[in-house]
C-alpha cells in the first residue's frame, strides 16, 4: 500500500506541481488549502508525512505544528515545513516547534523529492 502525503498549501499551482511529482513516485497525495481546519484534515487522512506551509489563511503553519506535537497521536508524525521566509530565526522557530525538516521557497523539485523520501524512510 502506498504511503500517504498530505500537502497543506494554499497555492494551487504549487499543489499541482508537487502532486504530480509525488504521485509519480508512487505516493498517495492529499491536499488542503486552509489553516483553520487543517488538524481535522490531518486526523482524517492519517498521513505518513505532512508538507506544511507556514503562511496559510486562517491559521499559521507554526500553530498547526504546535497542535500536532501536543497531540499524542501525531507527536511523531514527520512534518516538512515550507516557508517563504528563509531567515535563521524562522528556521529555529520551526525546529523548536518540532518540525522534522524545514525548506525555503523557492525549492528545486529534486531537493523536495529527496527530502520527502528521506522523511518517509526514517
Amino acid at each position: 500500500m502506498s504511503k500517504k502525503v498530505l500537502l497543506i498549501e494554499d497555492e494551487p499551482q504549487i499543489v499541482a506541481a508537487l502532486r504530480f511529482l509525488l504521485q509519480r513516485e508512487g505516493l498517495s497525495v492529499f491536499d488542503h488549502g486552509d489553516g483553520q481546519d487543517a488538524t481535522q484534515k490531518i486526523n482524517a487522512v492519517n498521513p505518513d508525512l505532512v508538507i506544511l506551509d507556514v503562511m496559510l489563511p486562517g491559521r499559521s503553519g507554526m500553530q498547526i505544528l504546535q497542535d500536532l506535537r501536543d497531540d499524542k497521536r501525531t507527536q511523531e508524525l514527520p512534518v516538512l515545513m515550507l516557508t517563504a521566509k528563509g531567515q535563521r530565526k524562522d528556521r529555529e522557530a520551526a525546529e523548536n516547534a518540532g518540525a522534522s525538516m524545514f525548506m525555503t521557497k523557492p525549492f528545486a523539485n529534486e531537493e523536495i523529492l529527496r527530502n520527502v523520501k528521506a522523511l518517509l524512510n526514517r
Binding site: Q13, I14, A16, A17, F20, M55, A84, P106, A108
Partner: protein, 432 residues
Amino acid sequence: MARSLTGTRIRERRRGKNLSQTELARQVGISSSYLNLIEHNRRGIAGKTLLAIAENLGVDARSLSEGADRAHVMQLREAAANVPAAGAEIDRLEEFIGRFPGWARLIDDFQSQSKFQNETLLALSDRLNHDPFFAEAIHMMVSNITAIHSTAGILSEGDAVPPDMRRMFLDNLAAESARLAKTASDLIGHFDTPEQPEQLGTRSSAVDRFFETHGFYLAALEQGDAGVDDLLEGAGPLSDFDRADLTSALTGYRDMARALPLDRFLDRCRDLAFDPLRLAMEYSAPLETVFRRLAHLPAAEDLPEFGFLKVDGSGGVLFRKQLTTLNLPKFSSGCPLWPVYRCFGQPGQPVRAMMNTPTGEGFLTFSVAKQHPVNEFGLPPSLTASMIFTTDFAAFLPKAERQTLARLDVGLHCTVCPRLECSARRSGYILG
C-alpha cells in the same frame, strides 16, 4: 569666534572685488590701519561701519556679521564630525568659510544631501520592515516563483510528462507568470517615489522646492495676476502625487491671501506689533492662518522674517519654512523641547515664548496646536501644531516686554545638540 569670521569675510570679499585696503578704508571713511585691524580680527565691528563696508562691497551686512551663518557653521561641523578620519581643522572652520565661501557652500550642500539621503534610507528601511503591503507582495512573489520554478522543472522533462498534464502545466505557468508580473508591477508602483534629489540643492519635496524657489511669497497669486493652475504649469514636470500636494498648498495659500490681503495686513501688523493673537482676533481668523500669513511675507528690510513649522502628532513635518539660523527637520522630528511640540498638551492654547538654542540664537516663537474633526465614532481627534519664529523681534517687541516672556532653553537635533544632560535626549552627541 564669530568676530574672526566677520573680519576674514570682509578681507575675502574685498579681495574678490580687487579693492585695496586703502581704497576700501577711504570709501568707508576709516583709516586703513583700522581696517587692517578689523580684517585681522583684532577689532570688533558693528553698526554704521559694518553697514558702510557692506554697502561698499555690495553685499548684505548680515552676510558679514556675526551669527548670520550659525546653521551653515553647524552643518559644516556635522560634515566634519561624520568623517573624523579626514582630520578637518574644526578650529579653523570659520576662517575656512570666510576664505572659501563657495567651497563651504558646496560642503554644506553635500552634507544636506547626505542627510536627506540618510533620512530617505531610514524611511525606506522602516517601510520595508513594517509595510504590510510589501510583506504580502513578497510572500506572493515567492509563492509565484516557487510554482513557476517547480512547474518549469516538470515541463523540462519533455516527453516524460503526459500530454494532458503538459497542457495543464503550461496553463499554470502562464497564469503564474501573469500573477508574478502583476505583483511586481504593483510593488514597483508602491515604491515609485519620483521625488528624488536630482541635483545638489534639490533636497526636499516639490512643495518645499516650489516655496523655497519663490522665497515663500507668491506676488502673482496674491495680486490676482496668476491662478493656481498658472503656477502649477510653471512648476515644471510633476508626479501626480506632487501635483496634488502642490495644488493643495497653493490653494491654501490663495485662500489665506484672500482672507488676509497683504497691504492692510501689514498696516495692522505694524499697529499691533506683529502680535499674531491680536491679529487673529481683529480678523476673526484662525491663529494658524495668521501664522501662515506671517510666514509668507515679501522680503523687505523693515519686515521681520518668520520661519514656520507645522507638524502632526507623530512629529511628522507637514510644512516648513527654514531660517538660515535654524535648520528644521524634514522627515524626523526636531527637539522635543521646542514649543511646537510642547503645545500638543493643551490644544487651542496659544503659546508665546522666547526659545534659546545652544548656538546662542534667540527666537521669538508663537505656537498653537489644533484639533481636527474625525469621521468615525470613538476616534480621538487628530492634532497638528504650528509654530512661527523669528530672530527679528527687537524692532517690534520692546525689551521690557521680552523679558516677561517664558524663556525656553531648547536644543537642535540630538546628534548636534551639546545639552548632554538633557532628559529628552534620544540619541548621542556626535560633535563632542
